[in-house]
Amino acid sequence: MPILSVRGLSIEYRTRRGPIHAVRDVSFDLEQGETLAIIGESGSGKTTLAVGLVRLSPRSARITGGQIVYDSGRERVAVLELDSEELRRFRWAECAMVFQAALSAFNPVITIWEHFFDTGRAHGMHDRHRVHDRARELLHLVHLDPDRILSAYAHELSGGMRQRVLIAMALLLDPRIVILDEPTTALDILTQRAIIDLLRELRRKLHFATIFISHDLSMAAELADRMLTMYAGRIVERAGVDDLFYRPRHPYSIGLLRAVPRVSGALGSVASIPGSPPDLIRLPRGCTYYPRCPFHVDDCRESDPPLLPVDTPGHEAACIRWEAVAARIGSAAKPVAEKLA
């Protein structure tokens, strides 16, 4: 039984030129305790999707279809039908979010402690001492000194510390889902490493499920169990982490994998993806990746293919040419760039 199940979700932004189809017909399940990574370039719709899951989209956005069902263990909740008070209680208590820019995630004029207490109080924890004890416990868990942190303002902490505080705060109400939106992008390498190790440790101890949004493939390689590749608002590939990295079946996934050089091992054939993503207001007919795709044939222009099962189990790709891709890439557990060299 998946803990979160998304079906046919579509989100648009209204603009003067017309609606931007930021998320189109997205479906996926999140299982209890697993980490699902969503990867794609900027503009692929991954952040719109993540924010849409807790209905935090900006005013100009509109959910035009689909459903989100959350299974709390006691009941099944249709997230899109919650009224504003139910939604408020659902947020953070069931599904918390760790944002990319940890400095701007805190109100600069109130202390960290007030952030914790506000959060607790909003969800019925009115006892200051209880919130305080819990906050201290969590800050210890993320390897911070509670005495120093709680009385501080956000600008007095380093980037890594702020990210840890945000993670600690995300865990305040024991959520069953934590959404991580590029949680380490702005951090230095050694700090990044510490946050990755921390996330892995917390997940082992606390068993929450994670949706992990990133343009950084190496972060996904570190943390994900399963992966989704998004392109132009759609999911174009869905696979287990090893399948996606070693046996991708969608040409866009291959493009992304080849675009990232590595530090260890052979460099292989590294390359950019030619061209640029389509205009999300005037989408072309057929496969949206067609103009950039080295595998394309004329049929690709006919229709945007659905997710099709491919040669490895539990693996789908939205590409009618997946067999040609499979023939080129093969199934060996080797990085794509090396295979193509």
Partner: protein, 370 residues
């Protein structure tokens, strides 16, 4: 270096400043950088400059004020030139025949003792006492009007921002921009014309002055009510002319605050809308307006001159116009100085308040590197 751009020059200046002296200078620098020290130093400097400007303004004027006074005394009082000259220089309290440098020093010395000299007209009355007698009324009217406009403007601005592009927002913002573009004295005239003369709703002649004749000043409810009755028109004008400013400023500050990531995060944290509006949006949006409030206070003290004239309200402005009419230079000088001091005090209070309200000021963390 021939092709050095000014930006290079800046760099060089900064580089050369790193002399062995810089350590010692660092301590002075640290003290200097304390906001309070800086603010006080600035205040002293401003008072000094203002008084210097007024001192020289009067001495630069075409035709000496003493000669003007002598003429006047000779014409009105039928005095001889010598008598008139003696009387006039007595009025000035300073020897106008002395070298300007010496006069200036004496003037500054007196100033340091808060002695602004005596009025030309009411002999023996010190300028300080004249200004102090009228200043409170102006501050009362200005302060009340400004405070009321601040509070209501902030409320309306917040609501307009939350309902942006709604009919309410359009009405509030347009009204705000109309009313803040029209000069305050025109609004005062319109109030008099429409409600005082045409409709006769307001007993404008009774409302003149700071309080009704025969009232005993004190903290009795009757007296305080009377104060508000007399100050009602100036207060309304200060209220009307500033509420637009606060509505528009608060509206844009709120719109900016709503865009902040931490507000989205607060929503994600499941905080109630009420809590977000007050502690995360409203509070942060008001902060920058606090210093704007002080600047407005300065402008409004100046603007009060004509408003008081129009409503015949016994404040600094009315007294200034009287002094100008009578060419009572010491009083004019005193009023400039005292209103400047009032503005400086307002600025100081705003600065202090701001650094208390915003933890980012004064508690700044370490500087960032490269």
């Amino acid at each position: 270096m021939a092709t050095m751009t000014p930006a290079d020059a800046t760099l060089q200046v900064r580089t050369f400043r790193r002399s062995p002296l810089s350590r010692a200078r660092g301590h002075v620098g640290a003290l200097w950088r304390r906001p309070l020290t800086q603010a006080i130093a600035k205040a002293v400097l401003t008072i000094y400059v203002t008084s210097t400007i007024t001192f020289f303004l009067i001495r630069l004027m075409p035709g000496s004020p003493v000669e003007l006074k002598i003429d006047e005394l000779m014409q009105n009082g039928q005095m001889s030139y010598a008598d008139a000259a003696a009387a006039a220089s007595g009025l000035f309290d300073i020897d106008l025949n002395a070298p300007v440098g010496q006069q200036y020093l004496e003037y500054l010395a007196n100033l340091a003792r808060a002695d602004l000299g005596n009025s030309f007209l009411s002999q023996g009355t010190s300028v300080t006492s004249i200004v102090l007698a009228v200043l409170p009324w102006t501050l009362f009217a200005v302060g009340t009007g400004l405070l009321l406009s601040f509070v209501s403007g902030i409320g309306l601005g917040l609501v307009a921002a939350y309902r942006r592009n709604s009919p309410l927002d359009h009405v509030v913002s347009t009204a705000g921009s109309v009313i803040s573009s029209v000069p305050a004295y025109l609004i005062a005239l319109l109030i008099l014309l429409i409600f005082g003369i045409q409709l006769r709703w307001l007993p404008i002649t009774q409302m003149r002055g700071a309080f009704s004749p025969g009232m005993t000043p004190g903290f009795s409810p009757a007296f305080i009510g009377d104060l508000f009755f007399h100050a009602a028109l100036p207060i309304s004008v200060f209220f009307l002319t500033h509420i637009g400013l606060w509505i528009l400023s608060m509206r844009s500050a709120t719109l900016a605050a709503l865009e902040e990531d931490h507000v989205t995060v607060a929503r994600a944290r499941g905080l109630s809308d009420g809590r977000i509006t007050t502690a995360y949006v409203g509070r942060n949006a008001v902060l920058p307006l606090v210093s704007q409030f002080a600047i407005a206070a300065g402008a409004v003290v100046g603007g009060a001159v004509i408003i008081e004239q129009i409503f015949v309200y016994q404040g600094v402005g009315l007294r200034l116009v009287k002094a100008v009419d009578q060419r009572d230079y010491p009083v004019m000088q005193g009023i400039i100085l005292m209103t400047t001091v009032a503005v400086i005090v307002a600025n100081l209070v705003a600065d202090l308040l701001y650094s208390r309200l915003d933890p980012r000021i004064g508690r700044a963390g370490g500087a960032s590197g490269t």
